[in-house]
Amino acid sequence: MGSKRNARAETKLVEQAEASSDSELDAEELYLSSDDDADAAVGPAPEDGSTSDDADDESEEGSEQDSEEEGGSLDDELDRAVVDYIADRGGTDDPAETSGRPPGEPGEAEVAETRPVDPGSDSSEDERPNRNTIGNVPLQWYKDEEHIGYDKEGSKLIKRERRDRLDALLARNDSGKEWRTVYDEYNDEEIVLSKEEMQLIQRIRAGQFPHIEVNPYEPEVDWFTRETEIHPLSSAPEPKRRFIPSKWEEKKVVKLVRALRKGWIKREKKDESEEPPAYLLWQDDGMVAEKTATGLSYIPAPKPKLPTHEESYNPPKEYLPTEEERAAYELQEEEDRPQFLPQAFDSLRKVPMYSNFIQERFERCLDLYLCPRTRRKRFDIDPESLVPKLPKPRDLQPFPSALMLRFRGHKGKVLSISVDPTGQWLASGSSDGSLKLWEVRTARCMHTWALGGPVHCTAWCPNNALRILAAVVDKKVVLLPSGTGTEEVEAAAVQALKLTPAASEGDSKLAHWQARDDGQGVDIVHQHLVKSVTWHGRGDYFASVAPTGNTQAVLVHQLSKQATQNPFRKNRGRVVRVAFHPAKPFFFVATQNHVRIYNLAKQALAKKLIAGGGITSLAVHPTGDHVIVGSEDKRLAWYDLDLSAKPYKALRYHTYALRSVAYHRSYPLFASSSDDGSVHVFHGMVYQDLLTNPLIVPVKILRGHERVDHEGVLDCAFHPTQPWIFTAGADGDVCLFCN
């Protein structure tokens, strides 16, 4: 405490002295008023002049030599302390004049010799130590003494001899330094100020900031602006809080320490006796942590491949591309070029910077910036594997593929065709009112019946012993002996078509059986326009459809008894087609939007298939378990009766409404014909195994007909034994497509 107070007093003293150097008394009083350490502060005044003289002489000689040798270097090495000192003193222009004492040479020399100091430093360590050790005492005390004070050893510093005015004038004229030489009264020295120091002084006098490099009026930069900047980075200085310990951290630590002391937190004691087990450092490389504390999963970077010889800075010659190869690479598209071309360098230090560094770094940043923040599970599925494996059509041979025969002769559209059970004969009904019988092998028309109206439907009786042909004309179903069998067969047909008296006389409300005018065959005259006729598989029953017939739309006729019956009492919509189940007592009735399956034995509805879109045709698979339905909405629907009332497969391949569909009797084939003039043939394999769904593969598109009046292929029928298909076109031809 004492020393502090003492120091304060001393400063005060100095200030007082500076302010009024002439008032000796005041200073003395002030000094005396400062307390107990006064003795220590004011050193005794030793009286020894001889030694100081010697010292002066020596120093004078040395300084002369130095000044001659070093010349202007003095200017640069001037001490800052002196300047400060002078500045403190009031910044006189010419210190020599102010002091009124001629400056002495030796002081200068000593400064130059002993104190080489860094001029830029502000540190007090670098300040030139005073020669005099009297401290901050008024210099008046030594005014009348021979010495100015004492040096470190305690010997007196003898006052130098004063230069007279003449000498000063001469010196001023001789050297240019004289005008900037100041006299240090305290140390009894002369100091030559450097140019910088002079500038400093001048700046101070001009009222400017002393240091030339400090601009107190720098333009203001407000680092923390309220305006939103486009770049998030700034060169703002780091805030203070970075450098001071966190208050909250401290609180947290205190809390933890408290908890530890109170035993709230227990630390597990490590068993230091055991060594930590060795573990595989890269074990979890490539493994993705499922979840981390942040909720973000860690995705390790992919590992690059280890470099090979090729990537060496000086690879063997065989790795280096030749000029031709380089030229070839240049010609390639940039994407196709190799990523890396081996190059050879003499030494590793000649390897240049990686040329794509900036580009890649930029792209990497871009990737990071644009990468989605959520991690998606990628399904590595080959799209090809999602496509169902369908066999190729060539593996599904045989199927009709080539047009082999064209049956020409009809003058109107061929509305309906039917192939006889042996496959040798074909019957076709046309809109020109004719029904023709063709020999399949040669496409020869064997017989023509003029039935007097468009023949909308024709069907061979499946009973091969009769060889009867059924055709639909207007309101009639016509049964004709085909004349294709042997004489016994023809006789049987005639016998079957010979009307019993009961049939011909019986006046049924449903239909009237009557012999034809030419004596060949039978007409069954209905009440309404008949559109189609279908035989039962045994060839005894056949059903006719009159769509406008309301409750009499469907009539079932029996050939052997020559009787007609109406199976339905109720009208459930406009009936389009009917079909018999090939084996069971089921009956399929297709109205415009539904296919109803009736159990004839139980006389009940067995199933109802939902179709929609205007059914135009219906075909039943030879097994009876599957049905295909063609409709006006260009759709061919395959129904598996065991599955559901909705289509198992809906095939939309045609561009116009479907006209007919057909199943092959023995081959796994089915086909659809449409108004777009094409016939699509499908492979439709039905497996005995109930667990396997039918395999449906489109195999062929057959085009052989031209469109006439927006009508294309009106009917199609498969050959009963060969993989052939007959198609009836609106252009009046019947085509046979063979495998």
């Binding site: 040798q424 092998r441 040669t442 020869r444 091969n464 069998g485 042997t486 034994t721 060969q722 495998n739």
Partner: protein, 380 residues
């Protein structure tokens, strides 16, 4: 590859020409070096030059039993024969292109024709008429014997005037001398039926004595080359060989398409040619026991069904086929390409037969029978 290097354009091939022709047509047996690029025509020129024939005659050449139809170098490559070995080349008279001889108009499609014996040509048409033409092409007789179309006609070798026709009803009708070969018989259970042997000597309208069952679909064609062998073809894709004595089936060849025509070689009843919906003429050597397709060599050229075929009576190597593609083709079985194609019909050709040894007669849906002269006299 090595062969390809050897056979260059200027390569010479050493040939030895042999022949079975008469001695005045034989060349010396010395080896002759000929350019490898020569075709049949060039070889024929060489033979003509060696024999100093005037006028020149066309020859055909056989190497290892196969006719040369491509340049020699390609032939050697295809058959893997070294060009440095001495080649044995046999030469025969070439079949000159058939010349259209005559056209016999009919009233309806001509469905059946037979003139094998060379005395008269018998034709059957869809209007049910049978016509007999003499060798000069004059109609000797016309008779409408059937109400329906005639499907097949046949002349009987034993009785020179014996003729038969069958109709689609499955019942044969006799004419002049009783011969019955029902061709299309379709009993309800899809059986195959061929004419019984006894009918050759039997009386009028005799029912079939034997029924051979085996075919599942209609029988399209039968051939009866020797007394005890019957060959039949059917729409059920099979060709069957029957023993006529026991009415039993001895061999079956299954193909994958319907067969319309079958004929056994007149020389050797074990070689059977057949054609059908497959559009290829096929050859079945029944001596090959496997019954596989290996026994059935294919000759492809027709573009439509082959509906009839006939072996040349004077040659074991030549067959003429009739097709729906309006052409007849003459085949030499020693090469895979047809020798000649006879055009002229403007509609489907339905039947074909040799008329004598040097004439081919064909009936077509254009209501004509066309006759072509084919010089087969020099063929062995």
């Amino acid at each position: 590859m090595a062969q390809a290097e050897v056979v260059r354009e200027d390569t010479q091939i050493t040939c030895v020409f042999t022949t079975k022709l008469p001695s005045e047509l034989q060349v010396p047996k010395d080896p002759v070096a000929v350019p490898a690029s020569l075709t049949r025509y060039g070889l024929s020129q060489i033979i003509n030059h060696l024999l100093a024939l005037e006028p020149a005659r066309p020859f055909d050449f056989l190497i290892n039993g196969e006719l040369v139809r491509i340049p020699l170098e390609k032939f050697l490559l295809a058959h893997d024969i070294s060009a440095e070995s001495t080649l044995q080349v046999e030469y025969i008279f070439a079949v000159v292109p058939p010349q259209f001889k005559e056209q016999l108009p009919h009233d309806d499609w001509v469905s059946a024709i037979d003139g094998r014996l060379g005395l008269a040509l018998l034709t059957g048409a869809y209007d049910g008429a049978l016509r007999i033409y003499s060798g000069e092409g004059t109609c000797v007789s016309t008779s409408s014997v059937h109400s329906g179309p005639v499907n097949a006609v046949a002349t009987l070798p034993a009785a020179q005037v014996g003729m038969a026709a069958s109709r689609s009803g499955g019942q044969g009708m006799l004419w002049q001398r009783p011969v019955l070969m029902p061709r299309r018989v379709r009993p309800p259970k899809k059986r195959k039926a061929a004419g019984g042997k006894g009918m050759l000597v039997g009386g009028i309208e005799e029912p079939a004595r034997e029924t051979m069952q085996g075919h599942s679909q209609c029988v399209s064609s039968v051939s009866w080359p020797t007394d005890d062998t019957i060959i039949s073809a059917s729409w059920d894709h099979s060709v069957r060989r029957w023993d006529a004595e026991t009415s039993s089936q001895t061999q079956t060849l299954n193909t994958n398409k319907a067969i319309y025509a079958v004929a056994a070689s007149p020389d050797n009843d074990s070689v059977v040619a057949f054609g059908g919906a497959e559009r290829n003429l096929r050859l079945w050597d029944t001596r090959m026991q496997t019954g596989e397709e290996v026994g059935a060599k294919a000759f492809a050229s027709h573009t439509d069904w082959i509906v009839n075929l006939a072996w040349a009576p004077s040659s074991a190597h030549h067959i003429v086929t009739a097709s729906h593609d309006k052409t007849l083709k003459l085949w030499d079985l020693r090469t895979a390409v047809p020798l000649h194609t006879m055009t002229g019909h403007i509609d489907k050709v339905l039947c074909v037969s040799w008329f004598g040894k040097d004439c081919v007669a064909s009936g077509s849906a254009d209501c004509t029978v066309k006759m072509y002269s084919v010089d087969m006299s020099k063929q062995n």
